[in-house]
Subunit: 264 residues, 2 copies
């Protein structure tokens, strides 16, 4: 990593914490972690045994890489705050799927993205080895450094530019947020009728597992919409009169699966 | 099982085949399997080492239970065909989530449902031990027989009447068919942009795994819709102009997650 070395992590939320722990696990712990929240900075720093601070001015200025694991709408501001306390020639990258790398260009000559494509929550430790890490930097040596760092924590490293990462992020919203919303709808209906949501757990898991081995979801689709079973579709829509918002969703997704069922 | 004993399986599709194999595995193989498709009947019969036929008149008439694992819209017809070749007092049940048990009432005094709540495909052997089996019969001894049979092949047996099973089936459509459609949309977009769908596999699996341990999907929801990140939502909608159908879905699901984002 040229004359400079090491990483400073900015942000101790879910993404930052999981990244820091994984890096530490791979003998590549950050030199220092920063969070505006003093308690979070301390908790993460102590958990992985590295220095921590909640004061911008205390951030060390000699690291090779500054990793901004902050909310999408806080990246520009955090970058500007960071730029005031470090050298202009450091490499600053963010971890966002949906934010262009260029959001950091006003403050840094060397910028890029280090995007772990996973949903992180405080309670669960993901299998980091399998998590795709998408890296990008406009300058080749910066990109090589990010690729090297990613390869230390994951076996799935990909160079993905801003345009393609944006597509990946929209797709991720469909398969993660929207899928989770389908689970929520299922749960709401079952709760209302006094049926345990756990009855759907094996089905949920199997649905996800079917596409792990490469099965094409468009090909393996089943159910009343796919087989054009109008009688069942209409019975479901009738039941969903109790849940008008879900009825609209049912109609639109059913038609998206099988346009031949129009009009519904 | 009173004076009669044993099971005859009608239908050798995905549900029938997996049920028959699991029953055989649990030392409770059907006495006989029937399919209108001679080749399928033979394949399944030989696979589990039991008699098979594709001729209604060859179905043995002395079984305790006739299990109709046929398409939803074929249950009534198969029931009528079966009633012509067996005694009127046998127990006949179907395996459908969405069809009332009473579809068999015109032909049989003893009828019911034996519904394994899972998505079955030819290529994958599911972990049957975990699959919820929902049983129902209006006559208590019939229901006890179904419960007993279900408990031999699964550790998750539930008595679920027609009304509640219908709710479960609508919910299953959301968490299985609609979720799989979200995967399909993700794949379509990635294919178009030349990005491997496999990059989304860990995210898909983690999303499903998060709710396995009982996490409430409504509580753990993340993403631009949930956090009210209008900038990202609008950027996604702009990208989705290329996919008008998916843009409509994105808009509706986003508003369902977070109505405060209206109008979109």
């Amino acid at each position: 990593m040229s004359r400079k070395h090491g990483i400073v992590l900015i942000g101790a939320g879910n993404v930052g914490s999981h990244l820091a722990r994984r890096m530490a696990e791979c003998d590549n712990a950050p030199l220092q972690v920063f969070s505006r929240n003093a308690e979070r900075a301390r908790a993460l720093g102590e958990a992985i045994g590295v220095r921590y601070t909640n004061v911008w001015e205390d951030i060390r200025g000699d690291a090779a890489l500054y990793l901004l694991a902050v909310r999408d709408d806080a990246i520009a501001e955090a970058g500007a705050a960071l730029a005031r306390v470090v050298r202009k020639d450091v490499l600053a990258v963010h971890t966002s799927g949906s934010t262009p790398s260029t959001v950091l260009a006003p403050c840094f000559k060397h910028y890029g993205v280090f995007y772990p494509l996973q949903t992180f929550s405080a309670e669960r430790v993901p299998d980091f080895e399998q998590i795709p890490v998408c890296v990008f930097a406009p300058h080749a040596p910066d990109q090589a450094l990010l690729h090297d760092l990613a390869a230390r924590i994951s076996s799935s490293v990909h160079i993905v530019d801003d345009v393609r990462r944006a597509v990946l992020h929209v797709a991720a919203v469909f398969v993660n947020n929207f899928t989770n919303h389908m689970y929520h709808i299922g749960r709401r209906m079952l709760d209302t009728e006094g049926i345990e949501f756990a009855l759907l757990s094996p089905l949920i898991l199997e649905t996800a597992q079917k596409v792990q081995a490469g099965a094409d979801p468009g090909v393996i689709q089943t159910g009343p919409a796919r087989r054009g079973d109008m009688e069942t579709v209409l019975r479901h829509l009738e039941f969903l009169r109790k849940y008008p918002g879900y009825q609209d969703l049912y109609r639109l997704i059913t038609l998206s699966i099988n346009p031949a069922l129009a009009p519904l």
